[in-house]
Structures are given as C-alpha cells and as structure tokens.
C-alpha cells in the first residue's frame, strides 16, 4: 500500500521537471538534430545527405582543419580554466570559510565579477590589454619589464591563455559559492575532531575537505567542462566570433555559431552542418561527463 503511495509521489515529484524540460528543450533540439542528415542553405535544410555532414567535418578541407583546431583549443582552454578558476576558487573558498571578521564582505566582493555581463568583462580587459593605451603595458614599463610586452590579444600563442585568465577572473565566483556551500555543510564535529587530533590546515584540506567535497568537485568540474565546450561568449566579446587571431581562440561554441548561423562577413549558414557539429559536440561532452562522474563518485 505504501509502495503505491510512494510511486505516486515519485511521479508527482518528477513530472513537472520532466514536462517543462522535454517540451521546451529536448523536443525542439531533437527536431533540429534531424537536420544533421540534410544540407541546404535555407533555415530548414532539405537535401538528404546521410552522414555526409559528419564526413565533411572530419575529412574535408578546410572543415577538418577547423574541427581539430577547436578540439585542441577547447581541451587546452578547459585545462587552463580549471586550474586558474576552479583550483584557485577552491583555495579562496577554504580561506573564506575560516573564521574571521569581514568574511561575508569578501564573499560578496569576489562574487561581483560573476554578476557582470561577459560583454563588459571582455571590454574592460580589452581596454587594459590594449597595445596603444592599455594600462597593463604601462605597468610593465614602469617596472622595467618592457621586454615582456607583447601584442597580448593578437599573438596566437598568448591569446587563448589570456582568455582563460579572463574567464577565471569572471567566473571564480562559481567555484567559490559551490565550495563554500560544501565546506559550510561539513559538520563542525568532524572539523573539531580533526583539530583535536592536531591536524594542520593543509592536513585538514587533504584528509577532510577534499574527500568530503568530492561530489561537489565533480559537479563544478562537470559544469566547467560543459560550459567550456559549448559557450563562446568570451571569445565573441574579445576576439570576434572567428576566434582571432588566426583561429587561435576558436572553440566549439564559436565554430558551431558560425556554421549554424553564419556571420556578418559571410551570411551563408549551414544548419545541417551545424546540427552535425552539435551532435559531435554532444558525444564528446557526454563522454567527458561520464568520465568525471565516475572518478568523483564517492564510495559510501
């Protein structure tokens, strides 16, 4: 009897989310995924090409150049952002959960960048790094480090790392809120017990925090991974949708956008090819998510 009641509750609890999600997200996207088997210049491609679009992306010139380039860039971007944003965010979260005055103020302050639109963040950093009137170069000069000055956003080797750092500046608030929520949720008893045993801060981190926060580390990593591999707003606002310079900052998101929607300089778009690219992106992300879920699963 109770089993029936519980089953009803399960359905009731799951239904709202399932419905909204399926109707407004899954169905429209699935309908468009169909187009990956078609080609044509209209907004609804109508020439059937089977797997032609996929073959195109992997083998045809110059699409394969673009494809493998964005794959490489995205992996690098993800690694750089994970380190500069999430690792550093974790460190800050540990610091922000110590007991000291003004801790709430710092938590709010470090969140402010995350609340900004990516457009203004991109623009501000472009001002700072501008080769003609930027303050960054001026600062280097005043420190006698003029030899280190480069065309920051124009150097294909430097542009992507710089974008990673800007992304980290922008979104460090995210790991901070996740990890502070997680650390705050760890019972005081456990921490006290550790302190009594004479554990140092570093020990506390290694033996208590990290293991207990594994699921949250997993969530943060997954969200970062997924975000990196599908978004491109920072590229768009700092290096145009082409991933300047010389496609060095081109990522899956920008490549997808250009392909599916066209650009100002080239108004032709190919929805079919875009859909194929989205399918491939989906597979890559899916594998990645599975991987991260597995290695951060906590053994209870």
């Amino acid at each position: 009897m109770r089993q029936r009641k519980i089953r009803l509750f399960l359905i009731a609890y799951l239904l709202p989310a399932l419905t909204i999600y399926t109707v407004f997200m899954i169905l429209p996207i699935l309908q468009s995924m169909r187009y990956s088997l078609y080609t044509g210049t209209g907004i609804r491609p109508d020439q059937f090409v089977g797997f032609g679009n996929y073959v195109k992306l992997f083998t045809q010139f110059p699409f394969r150049l673009r494809f493998f380039n964005v794959l490489k860039n995205n992996v690098l971007f993800f690694i750089m952002v994970s380190v500069s944003q999430n690792v550093f965010g974790f460190v800050l979260a540990v610091l922000l959960t110590r007991r000291f005055k003004g801790r709430r103020f710092f938590r709010s302050l470090f969140f402010v960048p995350t609340a900004l639109s990516v457009i203004v963040v991109g623009f501000v950093f472009k001002l700072i790094l501008n080769p003609v009137w930027g303050v960054f170069d001026r600062m280097l000069r005043s420190l006698g480090l003029e030899a280190l000055i480069r065309p920051w956003l124009g150097d294909p080797a430097l542009a992507l790392p710089i974008l990673s750092l800007v992304t980290a500046w922008h979104f460090v608030g995210i790991p901070i809120i996740f990890f502070t929520a997680g650390i705050d949720g760890i019972s005081d008893d456990i921490i006290e017990a550790g302190r009594i045993d004479g554990v140092s801060v570093w020990g506390e981190v290694r033996h208590i925090l990290l293991p207990m926060l594994k699921p949250i580390i997993g969530i943060v990593t997954i969200l970062t991974f997924v975000g990196n591999f599908s978004e491109f707003e920072i590229v768009y606002s700092m290096e145009t949708v082409y991933g300047n310079p010389e496609y060095a900052t081109d990522v899956f998101g920008s490549f997808f956008y250009r392909t599916a929607f066209g650009t100002v300089m080239n108004n032709v778009n190919d929805v079919g090819l875009g859909a194929a690219l989205a399918s491939i992106m989906f597979l890559i992300i899916f594998v990645g998510v599975l991987f991260f879920l597995r290695i951060t699963r906590r053994e209870t």
């Binding site: 989310a17 407004f24 899954i26 000291f100 470090f110 992106m281």
Partner: protein
C-alpha cells in the same frame, strides 16, 4: 609560542591572498564604473584617468531617453519567476532521483543531464515556431518557459549531489514519527538544502539575467524588452556610444549582486550542523 606565531603567520597569509584577490577584482570593476562616467571618446583618449568632466548624462540617458526602468522590471520579473520555478521543480525531481531507488532512476538522471550537452540555440527556429503557434510570441512567459527548461539540468545535477549527502536516517526517523513524504520533504530536506538552493539560484541567475538571444528571437515589442536586448541596440555597426554602454552594463550588474547578497544570508553554517546532530 611557536603555535601562536604559526597562527599569526597563517592569518597573515590569508589576508595577503584575500587582499591580492580583492585588488584583482576591484581594479577592472573600478575601470568599468569610471568609464561609465565618461564621454565615449574620453574612454579611449584617457582610459585610466578620472572622468573629466563627470558625464552624468550617461546615467540620465538611461531613464530619460531609453526608459530602462521598464526593461529592468521585465528582466527582474522573468528572472525571479524562472528561478523560483527552477528551484521548486528541480528540487522535487532531484529528491526523487537521489533518495529513492526505482527502475529507470539512473536513466532519468542522465536524461536530465543531456540538456547540459546540447546547444539550445540549435533549436531556435522550432522554439520560435512553437511559441508563435500558441500565441506566446511577444510574451514574457515564453522566456520564463525557456529559462526554466534551461536551468533544469544543472539544477538536477546540483540538487542530486547535495541530496545524496543527506543521511537516510533522518528520513527514516521522520517516517517513524509519522510524517508523510511531502512532510518529510518540506520539513527535513528543504531546510538542509538551503545552501544548495542558493547555489542553484545564483548559478542560474547569471545566464538568465544576461541572456540576449531568446529575447532577440521571441520579443520585438519595445515595452517587453529585457535589459540585455535593449542594451544590444547600443552596439552600432561602426559607431558605438561606449560611455552609455558602460553605464548601462554597470547598472545592470546591480540586481544580480543584490540578489546574491540577499540570498547568501541563508548560507548560515549552524543550520546544517544542528540538524545532523539532532
């Protein structure tokens, strides 16, 4: 003696790191705000100097010329309702997924996660047609529907993670006390999920608040525009008023920050510890 010195030096290190990060955070913020008070050309002529003259006109233009209070209201309305829906709907579903064993549990979880891996923009034309067909074009409800749907995957991921951390004993003892499922959910689970609720709300707030794509596609009437859409109109093909742009983007940052500060009050540590102990 050594212990105390060690504590002092650790404390010193803490303030050093926090201070450095504060500077790193504050400088670009100051630059943004500083630029918002300049005439457009001065931003490039003298990016790091103080505004001269102080160009209040940028902010005045917001409300006199551009009637931004309407756009702010629209954005706030859409964001708040979407966040509420996301939190309610995903916490319920995550509770079912995280705490109950049933056939298809894993599959449903992954089904929800798929939304994180697909670009919603691919479905643009279908989404647009769907809303036009049910007469919701030029209607903010369409935005709420989309944003709620988009927030569900991350919400499920986050809530499920936090819910799994809640010990089963709590639920079992509540059941013995005679509480029904809903009672358990509202009285035991939700209070323990408060930090997660804040995380889900804040995590979704930013993309919803700053989104300009769906308003672009689903709205063309001026009085229904959201802040990002109205702001996009300021980008000229060749000429842009950057001072005005900075002013708007600075002002637009305030509601999300305000919401965060308000919500983070619920991040109180004692709440969780007490419940687990009891």
């Amino acid at each position: 003696m050594r212990g105390a010195a060690k504590r002092v030096s650790l404390r010193g290190l803490l303030y050093l790191v926090l201070g450095a990060q504060s500077l790193v955070v504050l400088f670009p913020l100051w630059l943004m705000f500083n630029s918002s008070l300049k005439a457009s050309r001065q931003i490039f002529r003298d990016p790091f100097g103080l505004p001269n003259p102080v160009f209040w006109k940028n902010y005045l233009k917001l409300f006199v010329q551009q009637s931004y209070e309407r756009y702010f209201l629209n954005s706030i309305g859409v964001s708040v309702v979407s966040l509420l829906l996301i939190v309610v709907v995903t916490s319920l579903a995550a509770y079912a997924i995280g705490k109950y064993r049933f056939r298809g549990n894993q599959q449903i979880f992954f089904y929800f996660l798929i939304g994180l891996m697909l670009p919603i923009r691919l479905g643009t034309i279908n989404i647009m047609q769907m809303f036009i067909r049910v007469n919701l074009y030029n209607n903010l409800l369409s935005l709420i529907a989309i944003y709620t749907a988009m927030g569900i995957p991350a919400g499920i991921l986050i809530f499920t993670g936090f819910i799994r951390e809640i010990p089963d004993e709590l639920r079992d003892s509540a059941r013995i006390d005679g509480y029904g499922e809903t009672g358990i959910f509202l009285r035991i689970i939700v209070p323990l999920l408060t930090p997660a609720i804040v995380v889900v709300a804040v995590y979704n707030l930013i993309p919803i608040w700053n989104d300009f794509w769906f308003p672009l596609i689903l709205i063309n009437r001026d009085e229904l525009m959201t802040v990002p859409l109205a702001t996009a109109r300021l980008f000229g093909k060749h000429e842009t008023d950057y001072g005005l742009l900075f002013a708007i983007l600075s002002a637009a940052a305030i509601p999300p920050i305000a919401l965060f500060v308000t919500l983070s009050r619920y991040f109180i540590k004692g709440l969780t510890a007490g419940a687990i102990k009891g």
